[in-house]
Amino acid sequence: MKGTQLGEFEELVLLIVGVLYPDAYGLNIRQEIHNQTGRKVAIGAVHSALSRLGDKGFLKSELADATHERGGRRKRLFQITASGKRAMEKNHEMRNSLFSQIPDLALKGLNYG
């Protein structure tokens, strides 16, 4: 089984999938990433991340109905799984905990720097 570590971009995609619930699919995830962060990523990059997240069990997906805009093709809608949620939470907690442990001085020092 693949590792369950979340990469930076993976985490972003996972969050966006949550944000877009229940309508998250490849192209609008890409659009949302652009809207929220200003990052322009290739469609292939999004799909690649989605496929990795799927492999890790953080996402589940199903095919929706075909639409005209897509040339009669169906889209695959993604949802976060329970383990996906757990992984996100873990990341979030870890980050918060780490952040809170930083002494004030360090941050201030940083500001002066």
């Binding site: 699919y25 490849g26 192209l27 290739a42 469609i43 292939g44 990059a45 799909h47 690649s48 496929s51 990795r52 095919l63 805009e69 897509r70 040339g71 009669g72 093709r73 169906r74 889209k75 695959r76």
Partner: protein, 871 residues
């Protein structure tokens, strides 16, 4: 793909197909959908071209491992090729002998063509390392000898400076004069070739100096050494400012080392060891640098550098003017035209120039090598086809099963082509290895002094050439087996009908063609060998035995050696001469009645011809006592035949040399003076009484080497400043012998390779043909056929093929070799002897018998029942 044609929003079809090709099926639907939607938005917003471009970008961006179609590739592409390769390798391993033969045969021929490539390539890259080589031109003189035109590499002394000052397109010019001198440093004394040149020599030609300045030649007493010369004399490269003594034409002079040239590139057609200023020619030889005299030995090689390579034509208008001046002064040496020749092809065309500054290989020989390597390649291909087809016969069931379980013809072709490319790949690698580590060193030994090399890393063309050979070979030799084998009908194979129905006509054709090529190769090998033998037995026209010739400079050396000759009992007779037969090539213009000719001239002392035992047809030799002999000449038979006017009696026949008339006092029989294949031309001998350049010593007894030792010691004692440079008269053709021996070696080698190739091809085909008819032979055996009948039956087929090959090969080889030998060795033999041809036939027959005998013996030994019981 996209059926919605009404809206003009179809993404680029090719990109779509590409995506479908590589992308996973389960991913395809959503990805395509996303892309389509994306394209739609993009094309509504902006231009279609831009949208297309973006579409392509995103499609290509999908080339990520996660998206690859693993499953489909598993069934078809990669795994299929993997299986091709795996099966191919297994097959190669299973049939070790056949694969070995194939790989080795192809490798050897690839190696040969690689070597030929290296030879040819070198000829075409000669001198290309000079900076702006395309703008450097040599000025040559064209001379018309009663209709026959000759190009001479040299031109008058003043033409270079004149062009430089009068033609604006000429940026630089340099004059070059090459001569011999004795060079001495401490106890090291050698005769060396000296290059005299204008200072601009080092600027026009890119011979960078590792020590000293490129303006070194502006000082008359400076000398620039090659690295080799520096090491030879000083054993050191750091020798600027050291003294070097040179004796040029008997006059000693001190030079100061002012520069050391970097090691010269391998493709330099000309180099120098000792480079000094041109003014030294004036001092040493008394040749004026400032007149238009054009007596041949007073002219120089002239090179000009133009501002543009296209401007060579601009010179010709000025040439006219100089022609008049030069021809006015030199009545005996009328130049018809001055010509420019580009530096890059100068050496390559050196063969067509008299006294060229530099010269490459003979083009005919290169062409010959090219043809040979091509024929060998073709031969190896034939071989491979034959063996591949015959081996496939043993895999018929495999082919049938493959087809029955659904293998398409395409896939079978793929299988066989893959196997073929494996063989070709191995052969190419092995061939490159053989070429670099065996053939090229061999070539460098055979053509002694040459330095051919191949570099896969430095020369991209070598890899390209190899890859080209690989592709061409792979496709051309693989296409037939692949197409032929894949055509078999599985039902017929499985029923066992096939080997009755099919007849391998093409295989027989290939074998015949191969016999034909091998025959030609054997004949050429034998012919070159016989030519080599022929030369050794050739009568030289004089007796070269027991004769030592010693170059001398100045009266002192000559007198000393003459005294020695008179005193020592080892020397029977002596003579002095200005030119030595076999060494000197001097010519001079003469006039008979009103006609001008140039004839070979030997200036010899009294007794020289007698000592060489050249038979006199009529008249007598020179007599020192007779004052009139100063105005007499001796000629050879050819001279009388060619040049004596028919209406003139021998007594009144006189020849004008310069302004004086000369009587002919004797006629000697023709003899060879260059080599056996240069036609014998008219020659005159003039009496030389003082200005001797050589002394010849006719020795007594068998041990010539011992006598030479005595002479050497004597020489070293008397003239420690001058190196001993004597040689045996018997050795004067050695260089030539070496050349023809090289050719013989190469051709014999080619013949061996050809025999090897055709016998391996035959081996493959024979096994196939016997395999096909094994039942027939078995039935015959059962019915009581004797061994010899079977042998006759089997070998008959091959001898029929050989017969056909010979029917073609005999006339073709005879006429082409007759023509070729006339080209390479003009006027040498009156037609070719039949012996090599007959020998070649016997060799081929022997090869056939030996090759098929293993099969036949096997056939005779096996119990016929075994073969018949199969069904």
């Amino acid at each position: 793909m996209n059926k919605r044609a009404k809206h003009d929003i179809r993404p680029p079809k090719l990109a779509d197909r590409f995506l479908s090709w590589f992308c996973k099926d389960e991913l395809l639907e959503e990805v395509k959908g996303d892309l389509y939607e994306f394209y739609r938005v993009e094309s509504e917003d902006g231009s279609k071209a831009k949208a297309n471009l973006k579409y392509w970008f995103h499609v290509l961006n999908f080339l990520r491992p996660f998206a690859f179609n693993r499953k489909r590739q598993n069934t078809n592409s990669i795994i299929m090729y993997r299986s091709y390769i795996k099966t191919g390798l297994r097959n190669l391993k299973k049939q070790k002998l056949a694969s070995g033969i194939n790989v080795f045969g192809l490798a050897v021929t690839i190696a040969i063509s690689l070597v030929v490539y290296a030879l040819v390539e070198k000829q075409f890259t000669l001198d290309n390392f000079h900076k702006d080589a395309d703008r450097i031109f040599a000025v040559q003189s064209q001379i018309d000898w009663n209709g026959t035109e000759e190009i001479w590499g040299k031109s008058p002394m003043l033409i270079g400076p004149a062009l430089l000052s009068e033609v604006p397109q000429v940026e630089q010019s340099t004059r070059v004069f090459v001569s011999q001198a004795t060079v001495r440093f401490e106890d090291k004394v050698f005769n060396e070739s000296i290059t005299f040149a204008d200072p601009s020599y080092l600027e026009i030609f890119s011979f960078p100096l590792i020590q000293g300045n490129s303006n070194a030649l502006e000082v008359k007493t400076n000398v620039v050494l090659s690295s080799e010369a520096a090491l030879k004399y000083y054993n050191d490269l750091n020798v600027i400012g050291k003294e070097l003594k040179m004796v040029v034409d008997g006059k000693p002079q001190l030079f100061i080392v002012a520069g050391i040239a970097q090691q010269f590139p391998d493709n330099a057609s000309f180099k120098f060891d000792f480079l000094v200023a041109l003014q030294n020619v004036e001092t040493a030889y008394g040749i004026s640098l400032n007149d238009w005299d054009n007596i041949r030995n007073e002219s120089v090689f002239t090179f000009v550098k133009l501002d543009d390579s296209q401007n060579a034509e601009a010179l010709s208008s000025t040439f006219e003017k100089y022609l008049t001046v030069v021809n006015e002064i030199n009545k005996d040496w009328q130049i018809k035209e001055f010509k420019t020749h580009e530096l890059l092809s100068m050496a390559r065309n050196g063969q067509f120039v008299k006294e060229p500054y530099a010269s490459g290989s003979t083009p005919q020989i290169l062409v010959m090598f090219g043809i040979i390597s091509l024929l060998l390649l073709v031969s190896a291909c034939f071989n491979y086809v034959n063996i591949a087809v015959s081996m496939a016969q043993k895999r018929l069931s495999e082919i049938a099963i493959r087809k029955v379980v659904g293998g398409q013809r395409k896939q079978l072709i793929g299988q066989f082509l893959t196997e073929n490319f494996i063989v070709c790949f191995l052969a190419t690698v092995l061939g490159a290895f053989i070429a670099v580590y065996f053939f090229l060193p061999g070539i460098n030994v055979i053509f002694s002094g040459s330095n051919y090399y191949i570099s896969l890393t430095e020369d991209p063309f070598v890899s390209l050439f190899l890859f080209g050979i690989f592709l061409v070979l792979g496709l051309s030799s693989g296409a037939y087996p692949a197409l032929y084998i894949s055509k078999f009908r599985p039902v017929e194979i499985l029923k066992g009908k096939l080997h009755k129905a099919k007849r391998n006509g093409l295989g027989k054709f290939f074998l015949t063609a191969q016999f034909f090529l091998t025959f030609i190769a054997i004949v050429s090998g034998l012919l070159f060998t016989s030519i080599n033998e022929f030369q050794k037995d050739q009568d030289w026209g004089y007796n070269p035995k027991n004769t030592i010739v010693l170059p001398v400079s100045g009266v002192e050396q000559f007198t000393a050696m003459r005294e020695f000759a008179v005193q020592t009992p080892r020397v029977k007779a002596w003579a002095g001469m200005g030119n030595s037969i076999g060494r000197s090539r001097s010519q001079q213009p003469i006039q008979i009645l009103e006609e001008r000719h140039t004839v070979r001239t030997f200036r010899v002392g009294p007794g020289y011809l007698e000592n060489l035992e050249t038979p006199f047809i009529s008249g007598r030799g020179f007599d020192e006592q007779l004052f009139t002999d100063q105005k007499s000449i001796i000629v050879n038979e050819e001279f009388m035949r060619k040049l004596k006017p028919t209406d003139m009696s021998e007594a009144e026949f006189t020849v004008k040399i310069g302004t004086e008339d000369f009587n002919i006092i004797g006629v000697v029989a023709d003899f060879h003076f260059d080599n056996f294949f240069s036609p014998i031309v008219p020659v005159i001998f003039q009496l030389e009484k003082e200005d001797y350049n050589y002394i010849m010593l006719k020795t007594v007894g068998q041990n010539l080497t011992a006598t030479e030792e005595v002479i050497k010691t004597e020489w070293a004692r008397r003239f420690p400043d001058t190196p001993y440079a004597g040689f045996f008269q018997e050795e004067v053709f050695d260089q030539f012998f070496r050349e023809t021996k090289s050719l013989k070696d190469v051709m014999s080698f080619v013949a061996y390779i050809a025999i090897l190739l055709s016998s391996t091809g035959l081996f493959g085909l024979a096994s196939l043909m016997i395999f096909r008819k094994i039942k027939e032979y078995s039935v015959r055996k059962v019915l009581g056929a004797k061994s010899k009948n079977i042998v006759a039956l089997v070998s008959k087929e091959f001898f029929v093929l050989l017969g056909i090959a010979l029917l073609l090969g005999l006339p073709v080889s005879y006429f082409s070799f007759d023509m070729m030998f006339e080209q390479i060795f003009p006027g040498s033999m009156d037609g070719l002897s039949a012996v090599p041809f007959i020998t070649a036939i016997f060799i081929l027959m022997g090869v056939i018998l030996i090759t098929i005998s293993t099969h036949i013996i096997q056939l005779l030994r096996t119990n016929p029942v075994k073969n018949l019981r199969l069904e």
